[in-house]
């Protein structure tokens, strides 16, 4: 599946103007290269499966009461406290792309807190059940909703084992250009695909590392030299509901 729902970004325009200029130059001075090819993947080319993006959560470093990742996601993607226009919906109806979950072991009373969001499964149940294919997984493992063909049936929400998806229950204002939120469609964590496509880091990971305990690692699970892969190799990382064999892109340490 190609990344058709990716928002238009400035680098695409730059790419077009650069290639246009290069074509012009080539016509004026054949055989002379005036520009060098860009290093990053241009936005109009499909993502490849050379990479698989993932997030590792170290619950030992995740602070009880800390909401830095959630606040950052809200502000980055325009939901929750960062979008006051979602004011008709009840708390049960309001979207939550990422949430802090507190779990207490019934046997030992040990308390752990962790952020929970779309787990970006390799075998996502939401993608399997979607009748139109609006739920899709990019080649690099990021699971998204194509807002143009989502009919709002909510079958993906029934199928998701993590309750990671939300349905937009009313018209919303002040949306971010890279995170359109249409009434009557389903949405969830995009792993900040708009940042990732420009070699960036998801907002939650950035905020956790900048202001909080550094509990989140983002990186390429296929690259054995990436920080996330090295940490996973050294300390391990668990999937939530590993019994379902979904091979999630988000892994947890300390649960």
């Amino acid at each position: 599946m190609s990344d058709t729902s990716k928002p238009m970004d400035p680098s695409r325009r730059q790419f077009i103007s650069k290639t246009g200029a290069a074509t012009g130059a080539a016509m004026i001075a054949p055989g002379v290269f005036l520009t060098t090819p860009a290093q990053a993947k241009p936005a109009d080319q499909p993502v490849s499966n050379d990479k698989r993006w993932g997030i590792l959560v170290d619950t030992n470093k995740c602070g009880n009461g800390c909401n830095a990742c959630i606040t950052a996601c809200e502000e980055e993607n325009g939901w929750g406290s960062a979008n006051p226009s979602e004011d008709h919906s009840s708390p049960e109806q309001k979207a939550q792309w990422i949430r802090k979950v507190t779990i207490r072991d019934k046997a030992t009373q040990h308390v752990t807190t962790l952020p929970l969001m779309c787990q970006h499964c390799e075998n996502p149940p939401c993608v399997d059940v979607c009748p139109t294919g609006a739920s899709f997984k990019r080649e690099d493992g990021i699971v998204l909703v194509d807002k143009h063909i989502c009919i709002g049936c909510r079958y993906c929400m029934m199928a998701c084992p993590y309750k990671a998806r939300s349905f937009v229950h009313e018209d919303l204002k002040d949306q971010k250009p890279w995170a359109p939120r249409g009434k009557g469609t389903v949405e969830s964590c995009t792993m900040c695909v708009h940042r990732v496509d420009e070699d960036g880091t998801p907002a939650c990971v950035e905020a956790c590392n900048a202001t909080a305990g550094g509990a989140l690692r983002f990186g390429d699970l296929y690259d054995e030299n990436s920080e996330i892969s090295r940490e996973l190799k050294q300390y391990g990382g668990k999937e939530i509901r590993a019994d379902l064999n979904l091979n999630t892109g988000v892994r947890y340490r300390g649960i």
Partner: protein, 405 residues
């Protein structure tokens, strides 16, 4: 006392007929108003949420869709299994199947977040999705049954109708397997994720479908003052008893299997013991009023021969069916997702809590509008086309008294 089987349009001139049409039309108008409101405002005006994702519209829609499949039984028994007594019922049975399915689909589609994108649902298919398969199965069912009706009605084409009836019979078994699999394939939730749900939905369709068929048949013949003999009615009510017992069997196996597995003991405890409204609906409405009572009524030596009692039993099966779907759909979602077995879970998104749901008037109005749509279609169809036999007296339908057809 040989009588020939004749079909005729109903007269449709009485005040009662126009009141019926007007009443059903009004219910449909109210439903469309509710849809406009829900779609304009957004789903926040409903009781549904990100916790209870599917609500009352889905209970109505699935009831109608499941019933549509099962209500084809009288036609199938006549055509596929060659039971002469059922043959006069074939046209009405097939008509009801189409009407109930359209009513159910209407409710389902009008509850979508984007009903305006119906064309998307018809043009983009993810073939791994049972929902996408169902879109094909539903549309195909409408076409197959429409052809089946035409072949039954068109004298020149009569010899082909058994083939169409056979295809329709197989098709609707697959169709209800698909409907049950909407839940059967959901691995995420404790209440679903069971292969048994597919055959259970098939047998539920038999019971609901026959109950609706009996009520419609009795009402149509009483209101048009056409004779309806005991032979047909008693055969149908005895069959209804078999279907009620079969549903009970599947319900028992479903819960016993779940109870045996420790991982599902939580959800079973919730539904069967301390689930509040869901536990009450299960034991009192689904099991007692919706299954055991009508079962006793239809097989009782004297009560079972009383027409009001047969109608009451059929109505109870329908009420029990709604309760069953409500418990399965809403109760199944009310029970929290088990992501961390052995842990107490809390969050800002209601993790680890039993989710509450109170259906809004809009959702119920939409659902009732779906039923009204089905009944209006049937009412108009029997007025303009020859669906109903002039008489279903014993002498007409009883194979020993007369050769039917």
């Amino acid at each position: 006392m040989k009588q020939v089987l004749k079909y005729r349009e109903i007269e449709g001139k009485s005040t009662g007929f126009w009141i019926l049409l007007g009443g059903l039309g009004a219910l449909i108008a109210l439903a469309l108003g509710a849809v406009l409101y829900m779609e304009h405002e957004g789903h926040y005006v409903t009781g549904m949420s990100n916790q209870i994702v599917w609500g009352m519209p889905h209970v109505f829609a699935i009831f109608l869709i499941v019933t549509a499949s099962g209500i084809l039984n009288p036609a199938s028994i006549g055509t596929v299994f060659g039971k002469t007594l059922y043959k006069p019922l074939g046209r009405l049975s097939a008509l009801l199947a189409i009407a109930m399915l359209i009513g159910g689909l209407m409710v389902l589609v009008l509850d979508l977040g984007h009903p305006d994108r119906l064309i998307v649902a018809m043009t983009y298919y993810n073939f791994k999705s049972i929902f996408a398969w169902n879109i094909i199965l539903y549309n195909g069912f409408l076409a197959v049954v429409a052809i089946y009706i035409w072949l039954m009605m068109e004298r020149k084409m009569n010899k082909y109708y058994p083939a169409a009836g056979f295809i329709a019979f197989i098709w609707r078994l697959i169709l209800t397997t698909g409907t049950g699999s909407i839940f059967g394939f959901l691995v995420a939730r404790q209440a679903y994720d069971a292969a048994l749900l597919a055959p259970m939905f098939v047998i539920m369709s038999f019971a609901y479908g026959l109950a609706v068929f009996i009520l419609v048949l009795m009402a149509a013949y009483a209101w048009t003052k056409r004779p309806l003999g005991d032979a047909v009615l008693f055969r149908l009510k005895n069959l209804l008893g078999v279907f009620i017992a079969s549903v009970l069997y599947f319900v028992a196996v479903y819960h016993l299997t779940n109870l045996y597995a420790a991982e599902n003991s939580g959800v079973e405890h919730f539904i069967l013991m301390d689930g509040g409204i869901y536990t009450k609906l299960f034991w009192i409405v689904q099991i007692l009023l919706g299954s055991l009572l009508p079962l006793a009524m239809v097989y009782h030596p004297t009560i079972g021969k009383s027409r009001p009692a047969i109608a009451t039993a059929a109505a109870l099966v329908i009420i029990g069916g709604f309760a069953q779907l409500y418990v399965l759909l809403i109760g199944g979602q009310a029970y929290p997702l088990e992501m961390f077995p052995g842990y107490e879970v809390t969050s800002s998104f209601f993790d680890g809590q039993v989710n509450s749901y109170s259906p809004s008037i809009w959702e119920i109005t939409l659902g009732v509008g779906g039923i009204a749509t089905s009944l209006l279609m049937v009412t108009i169809a029997v007025r303009v086309l020859k669906f109903l036999p002039v008489s279903l007296e014993d002498a007409v339908v009883d194979p020993h008294a007369a050769k039917a057809d």
